[in-house]
């Protein structure tokens, strides 16, 4: 133990002695895999900053809360819209300093702390070779034959699962329990996370899966498979975004600011679609990579602000649990 701590200290010291300044960016677990957005962002930023960008990945919120003021992070990337309230409450973050009006989100964004770098919406994905008449609305979905099986995620352990519960809440309000009761016989199973659900769908185990409006893009552009479609509902789709935050106590404030500016740059924004399989937060549709503008996207977007979500969330989850437990 003692030896290890010494090693850790030496490592930390050698980093401090290095000549180029280091920007430490905490990122979600998937970020730095070679197929993820991390390596491209790192290369892109290092070209302009004369610094060394170091990603440190893991569970963002547990890590930030556990480390508290001792955190090594200068910037945190990947905080989803459902955790911004909790992240804000840590008081670790400083204003992002970017112009919110440059954002091209389908909703109004006036948060001065957390800056969105991508977005998407929840949607049910189906395979058109297996479902001939996909539901054209949420009401259609509820009225579907019970033999059509859907797989969803648990709102208590997954971000997309939580978004679904809020989506149903936003569409049906007081009638959410009825909606869940109608959906219940069609739900094949509830998985811990998005990956397990999506695997069940691609393996043909489920006919539809709760995912994102951008999911078909992966199949189209990476696999040239045009059979996977998102069912678009006129009732609206729930909005989700991932944000970047600047740590107030950073020892590299200029670099952190430069990084926030980089997030808003066209370079960064054009990386997002194919590296992250989501929509860019500050890029007009005509500048999206080829084919992306043809992706069917909802007209109407639903979103609970932090404070609204805090009010309805617990009750919405309990309605989901109680109805599906019957």
């Amino acid at each position: 133990m003692k030896y290890l701590m010494t090693t850790a200290a030496v490592l930390a010291a050698s980093v401090a002695w290095a000549e180029t300044p280091v920007l430490t960016v905490y990122a979600g677990d998937y970020f730095t895999s070679e197929w993820g957005p991390g390596p491209k962002i790192e290369a892109g930023f290092e070209e302009i900053c004369e610094c060394d960008l170091e990603f440190s990945t893991g569970d963002l919120m547990p890590r930030l809360l556990l480390e508290g003021a001792r955190t090594k992070a200068d910037v945190v990337i990947g905080l989803t819209t459902d955790v911004t309230a909790k992240a804000r409450a840590t008081e670790l973050f400083a204003p992002h300093g970017q112009d919110n009006s440059a954002l091209t989100l389908p909703i109004v964004w006036d948060d001065e702390i957390f800056l969105p770098f991508n977005y998407g919406h929840t949607a049910f994905i189906y395979d058109e070779t297996r479902i001939e008449t996909p539901p054209a609305s949420f009401a259609d979905l509820l009225a579907m034959d019970d033999d059509i099986k859907i797989v969803i995620q648990d709102p208590r352990t997954s971000i997309s699962g939580l978004a679904l519960v809020l989506w149903v809440q936003a569409v049906y309000g007081d009638k959410a329990a009825d909606a869940w009761a109608q959906l219940s016989p069609k739900i094949l199973t509830v998985t811990k996370d998005w990956s397990a659900s999506y695997g069940l769908f691609t393996d043909g185990e489920a006919d539809m899966v709760l995912s994102y409006t951008t999911s078909p893009a992966y199949h189209m552009f990476a696999e040239e498979d045009f059979t996977k479609k998102a069912a678009i509902f006129p009732e609206g789709h729930y909005f989700m975004a991932e944000t970047v935050g600047k740590v107030a106590a950073t020892d590299q404030p200029e670099l952190a600011d430069a990084f926030m500016a980089y997030v808003m740059s066209t370079d960064f924004q054009t990386l997002i679609p194919t590296a992250n399989w989501s929509l860019p937060s500050a890029l007009p549709e005509d500048q999206w990579p080829e084919g992306w503008a043809q992706l069917p996207l909802p007209e109407k977007v639903l979103f609970y602000s932090e404070t609204e979500a805090a009010e309805v969330q617990a009750q919405a989850i309990e309605t989901w649990r109680a109805t599906l437990s019957q």
């Binding site: 730095t32 919120m61 547990p62 480390e67 090594k72 990956s195 393996d203």
Partner: protein, 520 residues
């Protein structure tokens, strides 16, 4: 003529110290989590529902596993056939499989569009539905049937061959043989196997969720995960972890209390010549049980291999470096396990304090997330916890396999003491020389088996590393999840096959090491 066992003079302190450190590691983590908590904590309706479901599904899973393991073990104990040794080894494979990989394999066979459902469809029958309590139990039986079979088989083989010879000479019918010879042994072995599987299933989480079919199948482990990673309510997490420890702990204590001490004979994996099972009917029955078990356990493994082969070529290079990381974390955790299990099992083999064995089960009942978070809190004031990610993972993995290792090693330790305790004492063998010259060579075979199990379990475990993981320190299961998380299902299937191969390979290497130089 009375035969007295002479205690073996290894250090009398190492055993209690090793067991104590395990206990301390867990309690310190729990205390650390509790110290950061917001009190008071209250449990809601959902928590009690989760507790009820957790206990009920664990009970059913343990029951079904044990009930089916008895005829399979009985058949394996009294039949010889070509490939029997290989079959016994392969039957152990599901137990060391990573949960998510195994579920993939099970679904290929038993899923809605799986082989069985397709077969049913040919006859115009509706597809099989395994989502719900039955699916959870099915998966748990898939994992634990091999373990139960192995434990019960070991008990069966502890019946001296002479007793069967005597029974054969007296012409006792199978029913009487069962009542007089086999039942007493089963009564000794079965409660222990049941308790172990019950505790394993208590902490199950991924399985219950994927096959559970909905929020009714919520386990305490899921609630702990929710509290730690999603709500970040440390108080709730600590209380739930404690609840899980108490439930598992009482199950362990109850089982140990029911469990008579295991006889000192070491079961060798050799079928005993039997005179009571010669009838064609009994032979057909045994063949059927062995066939059923083999099909149930091996077909999903084949499915995993088949779907993984195509994905092997699509795996990015990071998967290979993750496999390397996993291999050395497994090696490290195996070393830790051996260092803990040897003194603890030696101590337990000699102590009359029954509760001591329950201590090791605590390691199994403790939520890895709780241990990981606790140690994160403890390390954080002094150093960057990510530097310790792999060490903590190795430690936690070692603790998870400790109960198995102790169960495997203890009978061998008892036998060493019974056979060579006096001789060692008369020659003044003690301390390290005693371990080196007498104990290690004598327990080498079970040690290899236990080490193999630990290595394989460690390879397959996602565990706490997710909380700490840095990009460069990702393990193979984590990398597999990342692939699944970015639409790359084919590459993930390839990674699953690599994971399966690595786990089985490390198991085989350790087990073969143990058996190669084992002395009769």
């Amino acid at each position: 003529m009375a035969r007295h066992t002479q205690p073996i003079k290894t250090s009398t302190l190492t055993g209690p110290i090793a067991a104590g450190s395990v206990f301390f590691l867990i309690l310190a983590a729990l205390a650390a989590v509790a110290s950061k908590a917001q009190w008071p904590v209250t449990f809601g309706v959902a928590d009690w529902a989760a507790l009820r479901f957790t206990v009920w599904q664990s009970f059913l899973s343990a029951l079904v596993s044990v009930v089916f393991a008895i005829p399979v073990a009985r058949a394996l104990a009294r039949r010889r056939f070509v490939g029997r040794g290989l079959l016994v080894t392969l039957l152990g494979a599901p137990f060391i499989l990573p949960v998510i990989v195994a579920v993939m394999g099970l679904l290929v066979v038993f899923g809605r569009s799986g082989w069985v459902s397709q077969g049913l469809g040919l006859f115009g029958l509706p597809p099989l539905s395994i989502y719900g309590l039955n699916g959870v139990v099915l998966a748990h039986v898939f994992f634990n049937l091999p373990l139960a079979t192995r434990l019960i088989l070991q008990g069966w083989q502890a019946i001296p061959a002479e007793q069967f010879r005597l029974a054969g000479q007296l012409g006792l019918p199978p029913v009487v043989v069962f009542r007089t010879l086999e039942w007493p042994v089963l009564r000794q072995v079965v409660p222990g196997a049941f308790a172990l599987i019950f505790v394993i299933c208590l902490t199950s989480f991924a399985v219950a969720l994927t096959l559970g079919g909905g929020p009714r199948a919520t386990t305490i482990e899921l609630a702990i995960y929710q509290a730690f990673r999603f709500e970040f309510d440390l108080g709730r997490a600590a209380m739930l972890s404690l609840l899980q420890l108490v439930v598992a702990g009482s199950a362990a204590v109850a089982a140990l209390w029911m469990l008579p001490p295991i006889a000192a004979q070491m079961g060798r994996d050799r079928p005993v010549q039997r005179w009571d099972a010669r009838g064609a009917g009994l032979r057909a029955l045994d063949t059927m049980w062995i066939g059923l078990a083999a099909t149930f356990l091996l077909v999903p493994l084949g499915a995993i291999a088949a779907s993984g082969l195509a994905g092997l070529g699509q795996m990015p290079s990071q998967v290979w470096s993750a496999a390397w990381t996993s291999a050395w974390v497994a090696a490290l955790s195996t070393v830790v396990l051996v260092a803990l299990a040897l003194p603890i099992s030696m101590w337990l083999a000699q102590t009359r304090w029954g509760g001591a064995e329950a201590l090791t089960l605590v390691g199994l009942a403790a939520s890895p997330l709780m241990i990981g978070t606790g140690w994160f809190i403890l390390i954080n004031p002094f150093a960057a916890p990510t530097q310790f990610a792999l060490i903590v993972t190795a430690l936690v993995n070692a603790m998870m396999s400790l109960p198995f290792a102790v169960r495997i090693l203890m009978p061998a330790m008892r036998q060493v003491i019974a056979e060579y305790g006096r001789l060692s004492a008369s020659l003044g063998l003690s301390g390290l020389a005693l371990w080196r010259i007498v104990v290690l060579p004598r327990v080498r075979a079970p040690l290899g088996f236990a080490a193999g199990l630990a290595a394989a379990l460690s390879v397959g475990d996602l565990g706490v590393v997710a909380l700490f993981a840095d990009g460069d320190r990702a393990t193979l299961p984590l990398q597999m999840y990342r692939l699944m998380g970015s639409y790359r299902t084919d590459a993930a299937a390839g990674a699953a096959l690599l994971l399966l191969t690595l786990a089985l390979g490390m198991f085989w290497a350790c087990d073969a090491w143990g058996r190669r130089h084992a002395e009769g």
